[in-house]
């Protein structure tokens, strides 16, 4: 198993992109991992099916925060249809570190939030 606390992940944990709150969110949601106490709040500003802006706030572990930073960087500017197809495997590839089963749950938390948001946009 890789040491997960290596440079890139730690960089995203200590300097996460896209943190904070949006002024005019189109959709917002929370995602929780009750087993370890990770909490995530995420907002998107979506215009004509494109995620123009995205922000999150987390009370969460390094993996969840880093994954949120990397994922939000990746999907910002992309279309809702494309984002819907973004899979767990692609996310783990993006993170690029081998994770144990329990840590995968932390990494997937922001993806859960993202999918909830794009679904909510579609349902509107």
């Amino acid at each position: 198993m890789d040491n997960i606390y290596q440079e890139e992940l730690m960089f995203h944990y200590k300097n996460p992109s896209n943190t904070g709150k949006l002024e005019d969110p189109t959709v917002e949601t929370t995602a929780n991992n009750p087993f370890c106490g990770d909490k995530l709040n995420m907002q998107m500003h979506i215009d004509k099916g494109i995620v123009k802006d995205i922000k999150f706030e987390a009370d969460a572990c390094a993996v969840a925060v880093a994954a949120s930073s990397m994922l939000t960087e990746h999907i910002k500017g992309k279309g809702v249809e494309e984002i819907k197809k973004f899979s767990k495997e692609q996310l783990l590839d993006l993170i690029g570190v081998q994770l144990t089963t329990s840590r995968v749950k932390c990494a997937v938390l922001p993806l859960e939030a993202v999918q909830k948001l794009v679904q909510a946009y579609d349902d509107k």
Binding site: M1, N3, I4, Y5, M10, Y13, P34, F35, C36, G37, D38, K39, D59, A60, C61, A62, V63, R103, C106
Partner: protein, 414 residues
């Protein structure tokens, strides 16, 4: 005093290496304990030499299995100070025992004018059943306040007695908290509760107490006492619902089937006497035998020695942890008021990351809410880290824990 160097050799799993060839430093005993060879052998021996179903046959193996199973019941009954072995009903664990109390006593005896008291410190298994019981019967569920260091606020308890008087029919609380480490003064609480209402029932969750200190249910004076085998060096899948004999005689079963009946016709069924009345189906025979072996082991070690050992370890752990910058320790200040565990929060570092870094040092701790979400919400904490001890832990284990914590701070904050 415990000869931990000798004792550690009794536990085969402690020779394991984890991760990068690190010695296993197992500090997650509040979740489950490791097993001495004697317990593993007892279970193995049962399956190799004596396995048969109990109470049903007159062939040799069945007689042997029945004797061993009932002998296990007697061993365990004596260990906790029961009046007779029939007061010990085997379950699959503490959670099942408490759910049984809810269904077998609670549903029949509580109504909408009644009040139940518990605390926000309870494990979900001694919390959710009472929420459900409140919904099922209309009885009100109230919480006794906790002091900042995690003990019962006796002033608030008095106020509740003043307010509700004889409406209080049940008090459900733990003997020791799995997150705070607090040892609650059950004897005192039973006395106060019965002074307020002699009919009030006290149901105690002893899962975190029986493994760590001498327990005598008669001396405590409670009506129900529940605990699990796997936290006290025994196997998983076995626990005990101890009930005062006179009370047990009045309860109706909530599990029906073979083994708990006296006579069955096409349209009727009558019940066996306790404890069989409450043990439907084939019981966890090998697990009960394994638990008796665990009790025998603990008796040889002596529970007074176990307690003294854990106080010393906890004292040492508290003193070392206090020195860490940004740490908040949960629970009572003094080791004598605690069972052998310490939960803490490190400022700016998530519990999950602490546990992950400690794991790379071979240290197993628990991170999260330890099945005490209401408690964490009460203290405004998302997640905490918990190190919990047993007979085979040493001061050296705590040194490795501290070293690991300092490494975690460096990696995650530095």
């Amino acid at each position: 005093m415990l000869d931990t160097a000798k004792l550690t050799k009794d536990f085969p799993i402690l020779t394991r290496k984890v991760g990068d060839g690190k010695r296993l430093v197992y500090l997650d005993n509040a979740a489950t304990s490791q097993k001495p060879q004697a317990v593993i052998d007892a279970i193995s021996d049962f399956y190799s030499n004596h396995n048969a179903n109990v109470h049903r046959g007159i062939h040799t193996l069945s007689e042997e299995a029945t004797d061993m199973y009932e002998s296990a019941r007697t061993t365990i009954a004596e260990f906790i100070g029961a009046t007779v072995p029939q007061e010990v009903v085997f379950t699959k664990g503490t959670t099942e025992a408490i759910n049984r109390i809810m269904y077998e006593w609670g549903v029949e005896n509580l109504g909408k004018d009644d009040v139940m008291l518990t605390t926000l410190a309870e494990h979900h298994s001694n919390f959710v059943p009472w929420q459900i019981l409140s919904k099922l019967t209309g009885a009100k569920l109230e919480f006794i306040n906790l002091t900042p260091d995690g003990n019962i606020d006796y002033e608030d308890l008095r106020a509740k007695f003043e307010k509700y008087k004889k409406r209080i029919k049940l008090i459900a609380l733990s003997h020791a908290s799995n997150t705070l480490g607090t040892i609650f003064d059950v004897k005192r609480l039973v006395r106060l509760c019965k002074e307020n209402n002699s009919e009030c029932i006290v149901a105690v969750d002893g899962a975190q107490a029986v493994p760590h200190m001498p327990v005598n249910v008669q001396s405590l004076g409670c009506d129900f006492y529940s605990f699990s085998g796997h936290k006290m060096l025994g196997p998983t899948g076995i626990g005990v619902m101890w009930t005062k004999r006179e009370l047990l005689a009045k309860l109706e079963p909530y599990e029906y089937g073979g083994g708990m009946i006296n006579e069955v016709t096409a349209t009727t069924a009558t019940w066996a006497d306790p404890p069989e009345k409450f043990e439907a189906g084939t019981p966890p025979i090998s697990a009960a035998i394994g638990l008796a072996a665990a009790v025998d082991y603990l008796k040889k070690v002596d529970m007074e020695n176990v307690r003294a050992h854990e106080i010393a370890l906890t004292e040492y752990a508290l003193s070392k942890l206090k020195e860490i910058d940004g740490i908040t320790l949960l629970g009572p200040q003094e080791a004598e008021n605690r069972t052998g565990l310490v939960s803490f929060v490190l400022k700016g570092i998530h519990a999950h990351d602490i546990a992950a870094v400690l794991n790379t040092h071979g240290v197993a701790v628990r991170s999260g809410h330890h099945c005490t979400m209401p408690l964490h919400i009460h203290y405004g904490i998302t997640a905490s880290t918990r190190a919990s001890f047993n007979v085979y832990n040493t001061q050296e284990d705590i040194d490795v824990l501290i070293e690991g914590l300092q490494k975690a701070i460096k990696i995650l904050k530095g």
